[in-house]
């Protein structure tokens, strides 16, 4: 099979781009992953706000609730019955990007602008609903249909013979509004004139429920996607939600990004929306550990569904974790970078005689550079060669001693990654990013990003991959790394040109990631292993422009807030809100994807100010942090008189970096 006959199954990766039938085709349930009760979405009369980051699957969930997806489950001519049994009917509407700017600079009063917005809202939903009725027309009883049309005629104030006429009526009125928008900058708007008629979708729903017996107890779900795009006009929808009390015929499902709701007020004097009272919030969040079994399972099912659409993968039944490899192989990677060299012994050999160097080599040299690095560290810490040799031998003989227990604990996962980074730095190499597990981390809980990574990997496949596919289906780590880096660069570029404080966000990401990258080098990478989290130690995020930039970082998923409060950092026992930068950028900076915990960086006001405006030298930041830490330790010691280091593992220098 040659490359040019292979269709990348990940080209279309956003639910926004998908038709309703594609949504059903690609559907994989995320409810277990996000711990959401599916039946709540279908049946709760209380409005639900679904909050999720870009790529979390909001649109997929919302579209699936809509009628045009629902009907795929039913036989034709039995759709009404199917809807009746399901108990709900979804009407989907999406606000495209920056919709609110259409109205913002119209030459008219704020009230008229809201009226125009409301007109579009109502008519667009009515149009969608009438299309549904038009689709179901053949299944309606003639008598009920006539009664419905008669009721709608009363609402509209004109005789409406059939649904097609009604569709044209609505379209005509929408066009009138479009014309107002188009001409508004040249011609003044006569606000007194009722320039467009619009009917209320709620009245139409009432008419349907009172006319068509099958719909009498059906819950009409008004689905609004990308709520963040309507800015100040959220107030209009908030008012509808607030005024829903006592009305059981319909409800709302609203999809929004984190920080996407800017306004909880309503047009009802003094009233605002309250979580838990006026609506329920469901968050599409994967737990802090991005490798939960549920998220992993969900991702696999989504990706494998797409893979199966390509004949070669379908025939072999291969799954994505086989193609990418299940997880990284640190030993293999260490050997890949080191290539048999022994320059990492240079520090240990410094000022040593030839005999001493030979002794060190005899004890420590190994086929596994990570093992070598481990024992070199122990040697540097002052452990004797004799003790090191003893530990090695006991381990080789598989004895069950304290030494071997410690060795296995140290080497299983704890220090292996840090030592790999130490070797990578020694040889000025670049960290490889590959395997299903790593890609899960890089995607940060966003299925969209995982699909994007897969798309990039498949674009990078070399022509001989398919020639050897049957004997060796695993995609080379080098290709995967290249794809991860390419994807990282494109994601970071998007941040830079984002209209919402793009340059500041971009600068912040580069500075923060460069800082974390610095912690992954030299002795720092073992002293502060895999440092990649931070907490706010200041108040910059609560006022003015800084607050807006901070919100923008969260809203666009450039930084991620961890789901629960955790210990701020090693030397501080208080809990704090931790954050990390979106891991999809990590391949540019050579940062570990894993969540190691331990030391977390304290982001202070002055560091923030610099990070959003200029290039910051990470060495300066690290020194500043160490100074603050020493001061904190000094304060704590002064207060308690206790040794604060008792929880530390032996390999780490708890006192931190020595200037």
């Amino acid at each position: 099979m040659v490359k040019n006959s292979f269709n990348n199954p990940f080209i279309s990766c956003t639910a926004r781009d998908m038709s309703y039938s594609d949504v059903m085709r690609f559907w994989c349930s995320p409810f277990e992953c996000y711990k959401i009760n599916e039946s709540d979405l279908n049946s709760s009369v209380t409005p639900i706000i679904i909050e999720g980051a870009r790529g979390s699957g909001k649109t997929m969930i919302l579209k699936r609730l809509s009628f045009f997806c629902q009907k795929e489950n039913f036989k034709s001519n039995e759709v009404i019955e199917g809807i009746r049994n399901a108990g709900y009917l979804g009407i989907y509407f999406r606000y495209s990007a920056d919709y609110s700017s259409l109205f913002d600079s119209l030459n008219c009063s704020k009230m008229y602008r809201e009226r125009l917005f409301e007109g579009y809202f109502q008519m667009s939903l009515c149009l969608e609903l009438i299309h549904v009725l038009h689709e179901l027309e053949n299944e309606l009883y003639e008598e009920e249909k006539n009664k419905l049309l008669s009721n709608i005629s009363s609402i509209v104030g004109e005789s409406i013979r059939d649904f097609e006429t009604l569709i044209k009526w609505i379209e005509r009125n929408i066009r009138k509004q479009d014309e107002i928008i188009r001409k508004s900058q040249y011609l003044s708007i006569d606000e007194n004139m009722d320039s467009q008629q619009f009917m209320s979708v709620f009245d139409i729903i009432d008419a349907i429920q009172s006319s068509v017996s099958a719909f009498r107890k059906v819950l009409f779900i008004i689905i609004i996607d990308e709520f963040e795009n309507i800015g100040a006009y959220q107030r209009v929808i908030n008012t509808y939600i607030k005024q829903m009390e006592g009305k059981n015929g319909y409800t709302f499902r609203i999809g929004v990004r984190p920080e996407g709701i800017r306004d909880y007020t309503t047009n009802v004097s003094g009233e605002f929306l309250q979580d838990g009272r006026d609506y329920i919030k469901k968050q599409l969040i994967v737990s802090s550990d991005d490798r939960t079994a549920n998220y992993s399972k969900f991702v696999k099912s989504v990706i494998n569904t797409r893979l199966n659409m390509v004949p070669i993968f379908n025939q072999s039944g291969i799954e994505i974790d086989t193609l990418l490899g299940k997880k990284e192989d640190y030993e293999w990677e260490a050997n890949y970078h080191v290539k048999g060299r022994k320059e990492h012994f240079s520090e240990a050999f410094l000022d040593k005689t030839e005999l001493q160097m030979r002794e060190i080599s005899d004890v420590i040299m190994d086929d596994n550079p990570i093992v070598e690095a481990y024992f070199l560290m122990r040697l540097k810490r002052g452990e004797s060669l004799t003790d090191i040799a003893k530990m090695k031998n006991e381990n080789l003989q598989n004895l069950n001693t304290e030494n071997t227990k410690k060795y296995r604990l140290d080497m299983r996962d704890k220090y292996k990654a840090s030592l790999l980074f130490w070797l990578i730095d020694k040889y000025k190499a670049k960290k490889l990013y590959y395997s299903f597990s790593t890609y899960l981390y890089l995607s940060c809980g966003s299925i969209y990003d995982f699909i994007g990574l897969c798309r990039t990997v498949f674009d990078e496949l070399e022509s001989d991959y398919f020639v050897n596919f049957e004997s060796n289906p695993e995609i080379s780590p080098i290709v995967q790394t290249r794809a991860a880096q390419k994807y990282a660069e494109s994601q970071l570029e998007k941040v830079r040109i984002n209209h919402d404080y793009g340059p500041q966000m971009h600068q912040f990401v580069k500075n923060m990631c460069n800082l974390f990258g610095y912690y992954h080098k030299g002795d720092l990478c073992t002293t502060y292993p895999e440092t990649n989290q931070f907490y706010v130690s200041g108040n910059f995020d609560s006022t003015g422009v800084n607050k807006e930039i901070w919100s923008s970082l969260l809203r666009w998923g450039v930084i991620i807030k961890k789901t629960s409060f955790q210990r701020a950092t090693l030397s501080i026992s208080s809990k704090a809100q931790l954050y990390y930068v979106n891991k999809s950028y990590y391949p540019i900076f050579g940062i570990s994807c894993r969540i190691r915990g331990g030391f977390n960086y304290a982001l202070t006001n002055d560091v923030w100010d610099n990070m959003i405006t200029t290039i910051v030298d990470p060495a300066t930041l690290v020194k500043g942090s160490a100074r603050r830490k020493k001061e904190t330790n000094r304060q704590v010691k002064k207060r308690s008189g206790d040794d604060i280091d008792k929880f530390q593992m032996s390999l780490f220098d708890v006192e931190g970096f020595n200037e």
Binding site: R16, D17, Y120, I174, Q177, S184, Q185, D500
Partner: protein, 324 residues
């Protein structure tokens, strides 16, 4: 659907000694070498009754002192020709049509417009204003291409735009609510790196299309567009990639007609990050099919192009029946 071609190199008009005798000639001040070529070389061919010069305060603020000299040189040019620069109208923003409302442009008028120094918002706005609001009989569009655009770094690739903030902005004059089942995005690609990819991420469409300006002003231009949009192009179907002559709006119009047919009449969003003649073609298409088309643009602010030298001047004639 119309297929139309009233397009020529302006020099041909002159060599044929044609006089357009337009009611109005509207041009915009600019600081590029090409900004006043039409005034200098073709104002006698246009032979207008009235001349209107648009002085953009926005562009003024961005100019260096050297550029200001270039910007103001129109006075010398006009003096050397023994004619007035025209009535000066200061425009505060890119909605230039509204500044022309009091100028007695009517449906009986014919208007010549030099778009060489206008940006996207101004070009699209003035076309809408003249053809739709004022319903003029004819618009004669003049456009002078540059010799070269400014590049940074090296010969090959990068035309680096100043750091823009990208978001989807509807050109209000061309706004329409989508009522068709399907929607497509047609990106008319230009030099801006990565912008179309971001637009694709922000925008919803069932299908994505591209139009590259080819043949272009010079061969390298189409390569720059291709290179700087490689990521975007790799994400769309090869059969959805089109090209249209960069200097001919009518070919662009025809290409959009072809795309509409290929997309089975889906609602079309057009993003014209392309040459100005291609932008004219996009606007003409949107004016002809307002209910199924809208124009979107990723920048809010005015971005000044920087170019050197003077290339050819083109002339396009648009009559009312073209868009009705």
């Amino acid at each position: 659907m119309n297929k139309f071609s009233k397009f020529t190199v302006a020099e041909e008009l002159k060599s044929q000694n044609r006089k357009l005798c337009d009611t109005f000639f509207i041009y915009s001040k600019g600081a590029e070498d090409r900004s006043y070529v039409v005034f200098e070389k073709y104002v006698e061919t246009i032979a207008p009754e009235r001349i209107i010069m648009l002085d953009s305060r926005l562009r003024n603020e961005a100019l260096s002192s050297t550029d200001m000299v270039k910007y103001d040189r129109i006075q010398n040019i006009a003096m050397s020709k023994g004619i007035s620069v025209g009535k000066t109208i200061s425009v505060e923003d890119s909605n230039i049509g509204k500044y022309l409302i009091g100028e007695q442009i009517s449906s009986e008028s014919t208007v010549a417009v030099d778009i060489s120094s206008m940006n996207f918002w101004e070009v699209s706005d003035i076309l809408y204003f003249l053809l739709k609001i004022m319903a003029v009989q004819k618009v004669d569009i003049f456009y002078t291409e540059p010799d070269l655009y400014h590049y940074e770094n090296d010969n090959i690739a990068r035309y680096n735009y100043p750091n823009p903030k990208v978001s989807v902005k509807y050109q209000r004059s061309y706004y329409s609510t989508k009522m068709e089942a399907e929607e497509i995005l047609v990106s008319m690609i230009g030099f801006q790196k990565n912008v179309n990819k971001l637009m694709k991420d922000i925008f919803e469409a069932a299908q994505y299309y591209s139009i590259n300006g080819f043949p272009s002003f010079y061969p390298k231009a189409k390569d720059i567009s291709q290179t700087n949009n490689a990521d975007y192009l790799s994400e769309i179907e090869p059969t959805n990639r089109y090209s249209a002559e960069a200097t001919n709006p009518f070919v662009t119009y025809n290409t959009l007609v072809d795309i509409s047919k290929a997309a089975n009449g889906a609602f079309m969003n057009i993003c014209p990050l392309c040459s100005k003649p291609m932008t004219v073609g996009a606007c003409l298409y949107a004016l002809r099919y307002p209910d199924t088309t809208r124009i979107v643009y990723p920048y809010e602010e005015t971005i000044a192009t920087k170019s050197d030298g003077v290339g050819r001047t083109y002339y396009y004639s648009i009559t009312q029946d073209f868009i009705s």
